[in-house]
Subunit: 395 residues, 2 copies
């Protein structure tokens, strides 16, 4: 796991979370001004750091990202905005920058004010421990976790414009929103140089195909944010043409790897479910069907129970509000053909059930014969353990 | 529980379900031709009896409804259509009518052909047992159940056009779709006389405010149907004007009582949750917000855990895709004011939790201050028992 050139980062425990075997404050600094792009939650109820970052991206001259976990700074009003700005100021001061050069991410409990003294101490601590090695990257990635069971990083290197550039991302998300926790955050850094407008449009495109194709409970958080920083330490001229396309392909791979890691670490989940929808008129229609199947409680519980229940899958597709001819629908689960031209096929139920039971990955393929557009979605099963995790919690 | 004039009905066990302590075939006959209206699933994948009934409603000259549970006759192709027509013919023959005078409802396993010999025997049996007393009504209501734990009937009488008329309905639905089961069916019969067009528009309006305001897992079945039969045995001239309005009000009450009975009997549910949304610009906007809150797994698990988790409720409202000013939002749970003008309030957390824990009914009230439109939705909590019921099933 390589850290791109010109970045230093780290993570510490500063007392926001209850137990000191966790980390809860991370800082990422670019030694030179970076272009930054951001994609955010579309929830009308959004957190103070989302408001802050939105005002700064797309932009240039950014110097880093400060992140806390354990407190989302959401539903905290004007005091939340002031706390967020102070957090940016403190982090910016560690590298001689202004508040408006520092992006902020918060995740955790909603509706409580940030413990500013702890955060001030944490920023001071982490500033003395920034590094460029894998241990520093891991610490930064850990500092953004909430109910995740493992940290999530991904990296790619490629040659563009005669130089080797690196893209490295880190993300958090336990797929299910934890008790009063917000869901997903991701930061991707690169030493490539990018124009701000290119960075923003590329990030928006890539997020649409990666982080917007994961769904566990369909509950959109108040804090969801994906940031991209590009500091140009590896190449000085902004990428263009084929180089930009090659970069976007690598960015897609980094984001897809991070996105899949989120449902793969889903609360209580025993299966990672890939829902692939093919043969639709438009990609948005394919997305609506994939989302309907991915979010069906009955499909999710069937997979938990290793039940190749084609009826639940086909009926979930049927209520997605997308017109299609039911007589052209086919369905495969783990490559076993269950449904053909709108009718169930004979199949070995025991073998199909065993295939689901014995694999952590489940693949659902639905084809519609209406066009050439397709999509892939990633989700989890729904287990009694998930309900326990989310019910056995008291404010 | 009164059966309206001119109807006879009953229910028997004919071997479609595994155990003979259940009933699985019901017949309802009107002694005189009745006006009939129907409202159906909008799922693109719909069952043979839905196709049959759609072709006959709104209409007149109908003589009854034959219902089986244990098999949905869905995804069964042209053979399913033929089986459905035969079921109508057999039932119609018991009262000297034609197939096209008999409506059909089926609910249960998807993708298997109807056991026609058992159904033929069942229709013969039930035809000899039709009655007009409460026991007959109960038997008919039991014959349409699947995973329900209790039968669901409701009745109202009112004076219109100088006569007393009665409206009696029966419904099935375990709120959650049972293992491979379709969800809800309802039949409402009245001895009032109605014009077919009035019957249809009234039923559509009433269903929109009752059966379309219940949501448990958002999974729409292939068989959902609500039928209204009006045979005019109590008054001969079709109702009009104020009489029609009074009738619609009573029809609303019957359907609301039946609709609420469905989530109240939800699989594994420990709470019936009423989500009331007030102060929206339009009723559809209120409905979208109520649906988003009602279907949030995180809201449902919070209620299961007796957690007055305002953050989950407010954020579920925020992603309903309905514009509103977050700073005007208020929230009460069981009349405890948790959220005021877009910010959390101080409240007694222990008392709020106890209030949820000690009542089977939970009331969530969200106000938006955007307009005068409101809606009420009914849902359930989500428990580990629900997951077990729906996962521990194998095809």
């Amino acid at each position: 796991m390589a850290v791109p050139q010109g970045y230093r980062l780290g993570g510490v425990y500063c007392g926001i979370k209850r137990y000191d075997d966790k980390l809860d404050l991370s800082l990422l600094v670019s030694d030179r001004p970076a272009v930054a792009a951001g994609v955010y939650t579309t929830n009308l109820v959004f957190a103070a750091p989302v408001k802050w970052d939105r005002s700064l991206t797309p932009g240039q001259g950014l110097r880093g990202v400060v992140i806390n976990s354990g407190n989302a700074n959401a539903c905290t009003g004007t005091r939340g905005d002031a706390d967020c700005k102070q957090m940016a100021e403190l982090a910016a001061a560690t590298c001689g920058a202004q508040a408006e050069q520092m992006l902020v991410l918060s995740t955790g409990i909603i509706g409580e004010f940030l413990p500013t003294a702890k955060i001030e101490k944490g920023i001071r601590d982490v500033a003395g421990k920034l590094g460029t090695d894998e241990a520093s990257l891991t610490a930064a990635a850990r500092g953004m976790l909430t109910t995740d069971t493992r940290h999530k990083v991904a990296t790619r290197s490629l040659n563009v414009a005669g130089k080797s550039v690196t893209i490295t991302g880190m993300a958090k998300g336990a797929a299910m929103i934890g008790p009063k926790m917000a869901t997903m955050l991701a930061v991707v850094m690169t030493d490539a140089a990018l124009e701000p407008a290119d960075a923003q449009s590329m990030l928006a495109d890539v997020v649409d195909e990666t982080f917007n194709c994961i769904s566990v409970d369909g509950h959109m958080s108040t804090n969801d944010t994906v940031l991209l920083l590009a500091n140009g330490a590896a190449n000085s001229a902004p990428l263009a043409g084929d180089d930009l396309s090659a970069f976007q392909a690598a960015l897609f791979e980094v984001c897809q790897e991070l996105a899949i890691a989120i449902p793969a670490d889903g609360e209580g989940a025993t299966h990672l479910v890939q829902v692939e929808v093919q043969g639709c008129r438009t990609r948005d229609e394919a997305r609506s069907i994939a989302k309907s199947v991915s979010e069906s409680l009955l499909v999710k519980t069937a997979i938990c129970g290793a039940d190749p229940n084609w009826g639940r899958i086909v009926s979930a597709a049927g209520y997605a509000n997308i017109p299609f001819d039911p007589a052209r629908v086919h369905l495969w689960v783990n490559n076993i053909h269950l449904y053909e031209d709108g009718a169930p096929r004979e199949f070995d139920r025991k073998a199909a059930s065993e295939s689901i039971k014995n694999n952590r990955d489940t693949h659902i393929l639905l084809t519609f014969g209406e066009g050439d557009e397709s999509i892939r979605f990633w989700s989890t099963d729904l287990t009694a353990e998930y309900v326990r995790l989310n019910a056995d919690y008291h404010t």
